[in-house]
Amino acid sequence: MGGLAHYIEDEGIATTQISLIREHTEIIKPPRALWVSFELGRPLGVPNNPEFQISVLKHALQLFAVRSGPVLEDFPHDAPDSGSAPAQVACPVNFSHRPAATSLVGQLTEQFTAEMDQMHSWYDIARKKKNRTTGVSGLSLSNVVRLLTGFIEEEIRTSLIEDPALPDKLRMSCEDIKAYYFEAVSAQPGQPTDSRSLADWFWGETSAALVINRIREICLEDTSGKLALHGKLLLVPRSQMHRFTG
């Protein structure tokens, strides 16, 4: 981010930026930066809180009035939902039948598709309420499910692996599934909105997470070189890997 600021400012346009990792900004020294104590992925602090977001923006924009730089200032407030312990996602959908991580593919697929069905009404409500869904693969949900559950079955995987676009399709389909779950649960009243509670719920309780992890494991074993990066980095967050690797 700070590198882009250097290049654009060097071409004659004044820049200011939000900084999420102060240590990086101290090294890169962009012209103007406002460090915020928010987590990665939430540079404006907290969702659906226009007043707080405006405050962040005003602080960043006011750095344009500073006449010499580089300038790195600290935003004086933490995000309103920070500092509290993760809350339990009280999902009315029953996840108590999540199979063991080592369960047979058929059982895992069955539980995953049952979960998807149970979440669908909430997902529909979320989509209507927000007038958007953030799925990115361009595939229909049924095709996303077909791809992911097919990939974990050896016989079907053999045909899928011929597709040169498979790595991107897999990555984005996994993102689509996470978006589906998170959007669905966010439509339910009284759910926590902090990322840790939601991530702990998804990765700790759902069969979808087990499917994604199974895909990660298969990618790690890939010898073609096309999928190894996915297995190492692109499917399961480092902060949740302990659930699967002990």
């Binding site: 346009i13 004044a14 999420l20 928010f38 969702p47 923006l57 924009l61 993102e175 978006a179």
Partner: protein
């Protein structure tokens, strides 16, 4: 919060080891007064229109986001899985605060908002994005943009 001290040791170590470009000096343009700013947003969240090309690994180019784009038309194809996306799913302004900028323009805090905004995909090393960023600056100048707010993810 993301003070590094709040991360697990492995996560902290990973973040501190990420390569950061170093520059001999920092360019510094004197900005117009706030009420004369025409501001464009550059995000590194890997945002793009639904029917535009998704970002891939190592991609150094940017995607164009017209100012009138509704939230329902924007998606995120950033390759990293190590940051929160739920904020973006709940509220686009969490990563792309165009509504907030328009509100600031309406109240007269800034002069205006650009007609076009842009997104890179921040997992690419910044040096690889240099040419695209410099080209983009030329385009923005022709569009009358005199200030940019960069928003990471």
């Amino acid at each position: 919060m993301t003070r590094l001290s709040s991360y697990s040791e492995s996560e902290r170590t990973h973040l501190l080891r990420l390569p950061c470009p170093e520059f001999k000096s920092t360019p510094y343009v004197q900005a117009p007064s706030l009420v004369k700013l025409k501001v464009a947003v550059i995000s590194t969240a890997g945002l793009h229109l639904k029917d535009d090309r998704p970002f891939g690994f190592g991609e150094s180019d940017y995607r164009l986001i017209p100012s009138a784009t509704p939230a329902s038309d924007l998606v995120m194809s950033h390759i990293s899985t190590n940051f929160d996306r739920t904020g973006f799913q709940m509220d686009l302004n969490m990563v792309f605060p165009l509504d907030r900028l328009n509100e600031l323009a309406r109240e007269g805090f800034i002069g205006g908002v650009a007609d076009f905004h842009y997104s890179f995909m921040g997992a690419t090393e910044p040096q690889q994005m240099e040419q695209a960023a410099r080209n983009l600056a030329g385009i923005m100048k022709k569009d009358g943009v005199n200030s940019v707010i960069l928003v990471p993810v």
